[in-house]
C-alpha cells in the first residue's frame, strides 16, 4: 500500500537523496582547503611558468602563448579535479562511508549522479577561479563565451568524473591511485592539445589527440575564449556529448556491479 504514495512523492524523495549526496560532496570540498589550494596552485604554476617560459621562444600558435594555453590549463584543472573526484570513491569505500550509503534505500544510479554533480560543482568552482586569473592576464570574456565555457566545463567534468568513478569502482586499494594518475590523468592532459596546436602534428600524435575527449574540450574552450580553434564549436560539443553519454553509461554500469562490502 505504501507503493501507492504516488510517483510525485517518490520523485521528490529521489531529488532529496540526490541533493543530500551532492551537499555532502560540496561541504567536504569546501572544508578540505588544502585540496582546493593545491588543485588551484598547479594550473597557475603551469600557466605562468610554462606559459612564460615557452612563450619567450615564440611558438607558432598565432596568439600569445600564455593566452594560447589558458583554455588548455582550464581543461587541465577540470581533468585533474574530475578524475580525482570520481576515483575518490576508493576512499569512500576504504573508510566505509560508501557502505552506509549502500545500505540506505538509495539506488546506485542516484549515488552515481550525486557524485557526478559533486564533481561538476568542484570543476565549476575551479574554473571560476582560473577565469578570474585569466582576466588578470588579459583574457576577454563576453557573456556568450562565459556561457560556452560553463557548458564545456560541465560536459567535460561530467564525462571525466564518470571515468574516475568507473575506474574507482574496479580498484580496491589506495595504491591504485598512482596508476590512475600515470595512465589516465596525464595522457588525457598531454594528448589534448592543451599545450600545442593540433596543426602539423606527426600522424600518430594527431591520431591520439582525436581519441582524447579532452581535445574537444580544449578546442571548444579555445574557440570560446580566444577565438581560434581546429574544429567547429558545434563539432566539439557534439563529440563531447557523445563521449559524455558513453562514459556515463559505462560509469553507472561499473558502479552498479561494484561490490558493496
Amino acid at each position: 500500500m505504501l507503493n501507492k504514495v504516488s510517483n510525485v512523492t517518490s520523485i521528490e524523495a529521489d531529488l532529496g537523496k540526490l541533493y543530500a549526496l551532492w551537499l555532502r560532496e560540496f561541504k567536504v570540498f569546501l572544508r578540505e582547503r588544502s585540496r582546493l589550494v593545491a588543485s588551484t596552485f598547479t594550473p597557475v604554476l603551469w600557466l605562468f611558468v610554462i606559459g612564460s617560459g615557452f612563450g619567450s621562444t615564440n611558438p607558432a600558435t598565432g596568439v600569445d602563448y600564455q593566452k594560447f594555453i589558458f583554455p588548455g590549463i582550464v581543461s587541465m584543472s577540470i581533468i585533474f579535479a574530475s578524475v580525482f573526484f570520481g576515483s575518490y570513491i576508493i576512499w569512500d569505500r576504504k573508510f566505509d562511508f560508501l557502505k552506509s550509503v549502500m545500505v540506505a534505500p538509495v539506488s546506485r544510479e542516484t549515488v552515481f549522479i550525486g557524485k557526478t554533480l559533486g564533481g561538476m560543482t568542484t570543476s565549476l568552482v575551479q574554473a571560476a577561479i582560473l577565469l578570474v586569473i585569466g582576466i588578470a592576464i588579459g583574457i576577454n570574456l563576453t557573456a556568450l563565451s562565459l556561457i560556452q565555457t560553463i557548458a564545456v566545463v560541465l560536459l567535460l567534468s561530467f564525462a571525466l568524473t564518470s571515468v574516475g568513478l568507473a575506474i574507482g569502482s574496479y580498484i580496491e586499494s589506495l595504491e591504485g591511485f598512482q596508476l590512475i594518475i600515470s595512465f589516465v590523468v596525464f595522457p588525457l592532459f598531454f594528448l589534448s592539445g592543451a599545450l600545442f596546436p593540433l596543426k602539423n602534428l606527426p600522424g600518430w600524435l594527431f591520431f591520439l589527440t582525436t581519441i582524447d575527449p579532452a581535445t574537444y574540450a580544449v578546442d571548444a574552450l579555445r574557440k570560446a575564449i580566444i577565438g581560434t580553434s581546429a574544429y567547429s564549436f558545434a563539432l566539439d560539443i557534439g563529440v563531447l556529448v557523445a563521449f559524455t553519454i558513453a562514459f556515463a553509461v559505462f560509469g553507472s554500469y561499473s558502479f552498479r556491479r561494484m561490490k558493496a562490502v
Partner: protein, 329 residues
C-alpha cells in the same frame, strides 16, 4: 490474554560460499519482534557475513530470508527501509558534523520533512551527543563515533537494528557506557535488535536469546540462562582440611552435588553443585575446609563445551570475507 508471536526475521537454509570456503552454512533462524538477539561466536564464525546478507549488502549463495515480510534479495529496497545498521568500523563522514551526518541520512531514508529536525534531536539525545552535534566527527572519540552510528541507524525508526560488534575496540569504560545506551535504546524505541559479539558478558547482559555460531553453523540457541543451565550446576572448588575418603563419601550423599573430582592429593575437590549460594553453607556445616570458592557457569563454558574451544579474542573481524575476496581472483 493470548499474545501471538510475530516472527520479524525468518531465515531459511541461508548459505554463503566464497570459492571453497563456506562462510555461512545452511542457517535457519527465526527472530521475534522486539527481542534482543545475539549472534555469539569467534571471529570468522560467519556473524558479519550473515549480517551483511540480511542487510542486502551481500547476495546469498543460496537460501532465503525475509525481514519485516520482505525478501532480502527480491525486495531489497524495502528491507533497507526496514532496517538500521551499525557496522563494525564507524562509517560516518569525518569531515561533516554529527548533525550533518544525521541530516544526510534523514534525506537518504526520506524521513518526512515535518518530523526531520525533531527526529534528529531525539536520536542525538538518545545517544547523548546533543551537545557535540555541531562538532566535526573527526573530533569525536571512538565511543562517541560508535554512538553516532547508532543514532544514524535509528533516524528512520527502523523495525530492526543490526549492531555488528558494537563495542569492538572500545576501552572498558566506553564499553559500559555503550551498554547503557543500548539498554536505553531497547526501552525507548520498541525495536528488534540483532547484535553480533565475541564478548560473552556482552551477549549475556544484553540479549534475550543467543545463538552460538561456529564455522557458519548455529550450534546452540536459547536464552542465556537456559544455555548456562545446560552446563549443570555451579562449579565449587573446596580444599579439605583432611583429605579422607569418609569426607568425600559424606559430600557424595548430598542430593544437590552431582559430580566430584578429586583433583589433587592435598585435598582439592571440584564439585558440580545446584544453587551453590544456598547449598554451599550446608556442606561447610558438615565438612572442615581450608578454602572454598565457586563460580557460576558462563557462556564461555557453553561455548567451550559446544566447540571444544575458548572464544578467543583474535585479530579484528571480517577477515574471512577479506581473505575470500582475494581467494576468488
Amino acid at each position: 490474554m493470548h499474545v501471538s508471536i510475530v516472527w520479524l526475521i525468518i531465515i531459511r537454509d541461508l548459505v554463503k560460499k566464497y570459492g571453497n570456503l563456506t562462510a555461512v552454512d545452511r542457517l535457519n533462524l527465526d527472530i521475534q519482534e522486539n527481542e534482543v538477539f545475539g549472534l555469539l561466536g569467534s571471529n570468522g564464525a560467519g556473524k558479519t557475513t550473515t549480517i551483511h546478507m540480511l542487510a542486502t549488502l551481500l547476495k546469498p549463495t543460496s537460501g532465503t530470508a525475509t525481514i519485516n515480510g520482505f525478501d532480502i534479495v527480491a525486495q531489497s529496497a524495502k528491507v533497507r527501509s526496514s532496517i538500521g545498521i551499525v557496522f563494525q568500523a564507524p562509517s560516518s563522514d569525518e569531515m561533516l558534523t554529527g548533525y550533518e551526518n544525521l541530516k544526510l541520512h534523514s534525506w537518504l531514508y526520506s524521513v518526512p520533512r515535518n518530523i526531520r529536525e525533531k527526529r534528529i534531536a531525539e536520536v542525538l539525545d538518545l545517544v547523548g551527543l546533543s551537545e557535540r552535534k555541531n562538532d566535526q566527527v573527526k573530533k569525536y572519540s571512538g565511543g562517541m563515533r560508535r554512538r553516532l552510528e547508532i543514532a544514524r541507524g535509528l533516524i528512520h525508526k527502523p523495525r530492526v537494528m543490526f549492531l555488528d560488534e558494537p563495542t569492538l575496540g572500545l576501552d572498558p569504560s566506553s564499553r559500559e557506557i555503550m551498554w547503557k545506551y543500548i539498554e536505553q535504546l531497547v526501552k525507548q524505541e520498541k525495536i528488534t535488535i540483532i547484535l553480533t559479539t565475541h564478548y560473552m558478558e556482552e551477549a549475556d547482559m544484553l540479549c534475550d536469546r543467543i545463538a552460538i555460531i561456529d564455522r557458519g553453523k548455529i550450534i546452540a540457541l536459547d536464552t542465556p540462562s537456559r544455555l548456562k543451565a545446560t552446563i549443570g550446576g555451579d562449579i565449587v572448588k573446596l580444599k579439605l582440611v583432611q583429605n579422607t575418603q569418609s569426607n568425600i563419601d559424606m559430600i557424595k550423599k548430598f542430593s544437590f552435588v552431582h559430580k566430584i573430582e578429586n583433583v589433587s592429593d592435598d585435598g582439592l575437590l571440584v564439585l558440580s553443585v545446584d544453587n551453590a549460594s544456598r547449598n554451599l553453607p550446608v556442606i561447610l556445616k558438615f565438612i572442615d575446609t581450608e578454602s572454598v570458592e565457586y563460580t557460576s557457569p558462563t557462556l564461555n563454558d557453553v561455548f567451550l563445551r559446544s566447540t571444544g574451544r575458548n572464544i578467543k579474542e583474535e585479530a579484528e573481524g571480517g577477515f574471512m570475507e577479506k581473505y575470500a575476496r582475494y581467494d576468488q581472483k
